[in-house]
């Protein structure tokens, strides 16, 4: 079988909320089905642009470190990342990584910080922080709602061409106002859900994996014994759903 290549972008900076667990989960669920998987950590500086990835993962980070990051983004990664997104590469972006894909961020002092602009959305600083368990619905997670944890101060607003990843059942989601959570564009899946997101939402994980496997001619994934994962999801939904 083909080797599935995962890129963990800014793995050493955007690693605040156990988000690495998403990479572990994607890797394991592929390996359990017999795929070979490689994970490439990609941080600051130059890199080999010829490397083609099936999945790019971007997590969330601390404000102090996100400041250092935009500099590198525009110097080395912006053009490349936009091109990957336009070429239908699967991208999973969480929280800070999600905001970074948008057009800009308006700080609490009213300044605009330019972001990647690959997705038509923007984020505005707000207070107090939106912290807590979040439950949202999305057809990508099968019959069950997604359970995760959100912790962000930015409110995100989607542009016309962008659909939300899901609808908020409990919690704040994108902005606590319009009931939307996350964003979908081409093969980009963006969300405020930490937890990490994928381990206890295995159906959503497989949906995301399938979007990347299409290029390898794989349209279906064999079933796994997900009793432990589903048990954790049910428990979280019982507590917070």
């Amino acid at each position: 079988m083909d080797c599935i290549k995962i890129c963990h972008l800014y793995h050493d900076i955007l690693n605040l909320y156990g988000d690495t667990g998403n990479v572990v989960t994607m890797k394991k669920r592929l390996e359990w089905r017999g795929f070979e998987v490689s994970v490439t950590d990609l941080s600051f500086g130059e890199f080999d642009r010829n490397d083609k990835f099936d999945i790019i993962f971007i997590g969330g980070g601390q404000d102090f470190e996100q400041g250092i990051l935009t500099e590198d983004l525009f110097k080395y990664k912006a053009g490349w990342l936009t091109e990957q997104i336009e070429n239908d590469t699967t991208v999973l972006a969480i929280c800070g990584g999600y905001q970074m894909l948008g057009n800009y961020y308006i700080t609490d002092k009213g300044e605009d910080i330019k972001f990647l602009g690959a997705l038509d959305l923007y984020t505005k600083a707000s207070s107090p922080r939106m912290i807590g368990n979040i439950v949202y619905s999305t057809e990508l997670n099968g019959k069950m709602n997604v359970a995760a944890f959100e912790n962000h101060s930015g409110k995100t607003y989607l542009g016309k061409g962008i659909s939300p990843l899901g609808r908020v059942v409990k919690g704040f989601g994108n902005n606590g106002e319009d009931g939307t959570e996350g964003a979908r564009y081409k093969n980009v899946f963006a969300t405020y859900g930490h937890g990490p997101l994928l381990p206890k939402n295995p159906v959503l994980c497989d949906s995301i994996l399938l979007s990347a496997l299409k290029k390898h001619g794989v349209l279906e994934l064999s079933e796994l014994d997900d009793r432990i994962e589903t048990g954790a999801l049910k428990n979280a939904l019982t507590l917070y759903g």
């Binding site: 605040l16 909320y17 601390q62 102090f64 470190e65 912790n151 381990p199 432990i228 994962e229 428990n235």
Partner: protein, 464 residues
């Protein structure tokens, strides 16, 4: 003592008495009452006492315990607050409980565990007192508590600003902690640290401080212990670790409940035994040794004291349950949990069972995602080699299911998983195994489980 503070102390003491009669342990309510009546009551209550505040993300409780051990072993008396009472109300209450009706507290020292965010409230009225502040380290804590490490650092800075004449005892190996020297202008600073790093830890440990706090360049390390701790330096701006005057130069052996080390105090080297389990406790022992130097003990006495340190509540506490007993270990954040994992990787055999317990109450951290920053993979790999047919991994707590998922993805054999959320049923089950169990528990799971354990096994009593 002024009329106002006398009255406040009397009312506070009456409250404590009342709570005692009602059968409730007095922790913070007497403090609340007293503070309402006299906000700067600490200045009065602690006026004849030398105060040692211990703050930082990890190791506060163990460090306080070790300091109290050293102080008592050398003939001094001290007052301590309990781990659960580390905010202003708890601190005031602990003074109240020890004071006479007229507000006299007859102790040589007060050793106060201070929550990082509460330090500024606790030190507010201590400007005129003899205060030493120990900062153990600054790590990412429960993620929803203060948001970021720099927020935590700033809270500590605010606490130090109230006491410009205080002596500081700082962890030299923590780039965040040692930056306090520049930002607070305190003159009297003593550093403790580990020279040469630890062999067993990997450099892949997650780091909470990758970039220079001054200039945002990536730190380099001459040696490394764990997390972001080590002999760091910044090539770009020159910020670097300070040489510690109280240090461990070499660990000759890590044992299950102690470490044999070569220790130096002001460049004089000694052989010592630090009787605390786990590599992470080396720092806590060193912080206590540094306090030994601050209170004027000679080197010989300090070194001797290192071999009679004891562990506090939840830090590898043995309970005689069933045939072989259990060890209870408290976990609060990734850095602490990783050290427990290192310990278990070294000492857990196929003959031990492990109970993992996780709640998501505010004292545990409401966001359980931090368990994914814990390197269970190391332990999973080790246990696959040494496991036995009867080995079982038990899970409990409100979010025990999340731990099961985490361990499944870390390569643990899910056939050995048993989830039991009812504490009494769980204890019955553990008693029936005839095996030894390590219990690795978040804070409120430990509290809840201890209550039920007390019904069937003798337990040490701790002030809550």
């Amino acid at each position: 003592m002024g009329i106002r503070s006398s009255f406040a102390v009397m009312v506070g003491k009456a409250t404590a008495k009342l709570l005692h009669i009602m059968g409730k342990g007095a922790t913070s309510l007497p403090g609340v009452v007293t503070l309402k009546l006299c906000p700067n009551v600490l200045a009065t209550l602690a006026r004849d006492i030398k105060v040692i505040c211990v703050t930082g993300t990890n190791g506060k409780t163990t460090t306080c315990h070790a300091i109290a051990d050293i102080i008592s072993a050398n003939g001094y008396t001290c007052l301590t607050n309990s781990a659960g009472a580390n905010m202003i109300n708890g601190v005031v209450s602990c003074f109240m409980n020890a004071s006479s009706l007229t507000g006299k507290v007859k102790r040589d020292y007060a050793v106060l565990e201070c929550d990082e965010a509460s330090l500024r409230h606790i030190t507010k009225s201590m400007g005129s007192l003899d205060v030493t502040v120990v900062v153990t380290n600054v790590f990412r804590d429960q993620l929803d508590r203060y948001g970021e490490v720099l927020t935590t650092l700033d809270l500590i800075k605010q606490g130090l600003a109230h006491i410009p004449n205080a002596r500081l005892v700082l962890n030299a190996d923590c780039s965040l902690t040692s930056s306090l020297v520049e930002s607070t202008k305190h003159g009297d600073v003593l550093f403790f640290g580990v020279n040469g790093g630890f062999e067993s830890t990997s450099s892949s440990d997650i780091s909470d401080a990758v970039y220079c706090i001054r200039c945002k360049t990536k730190y380099k390390y001459h040696s490394h212990t764990f997390g972001h701790l080590g002999d760091f330096y910044c090539e770009s701006c020159g910020y670097h670790r300070q040489k510690p005057s109280v240090a461990v130069d070499e660990v000759t052996s890590f044992n299950a409940d102690s470490a044999d080390v070569l220790m130096s105090i002001d460049d004089k080297q000694y052989e010592a035994k630090i009787t605390l389990p786990g590599a992470y406790n080396i720092y806590n022992g060193l912080a206590a040794a540094a306090i030994g130097r601050v209170i004027g003990l000679d080197d010989k006495k300090i070194i001797a004291s290192m071999s009679s340190l004891t562990t506090p509540f939840g830090r590898m506490e043995h309970v005689a349950l069933g045939e072989k007993g259990v060890e209870m270990i408290l976990v609060k954040n990734p850095a602490g949990f990783n050290e427990v994992i290192s310990f278990l990787t070294k000492h857990c055999t196929g003959e031990d069972d492990i109970l993992f317990g996780l709640n998501d109450n505010s004292a545990d951290g409401t966001d359980v995602s931090w368990i994914w920053d814990v390197e269970f993979e190391k332990l999973g790999e080790r246990l696959r080699e040494v496991t036995t047919d009867s080995q079982t991994f038990f899970f409990t707590g409100k979010r025990g299911e999340d731990l099961q998922v985490r361990l499944k993805y870390a390569g643990f054999d899910t056939g050995k998983f048993k989830l039991e959320k009812d504490y009494r049923a769980l204890i019955q089950r553990l008693m029936g195994t005839g095996r030894h169990t390590y219990m690795v528990l978040s804070y409120t799971v430990m509290l809840g489980l201890r209550d039920k354990l007390a019904e069937v096994a003798p337990l040490k009593k701790y002030a809550r």
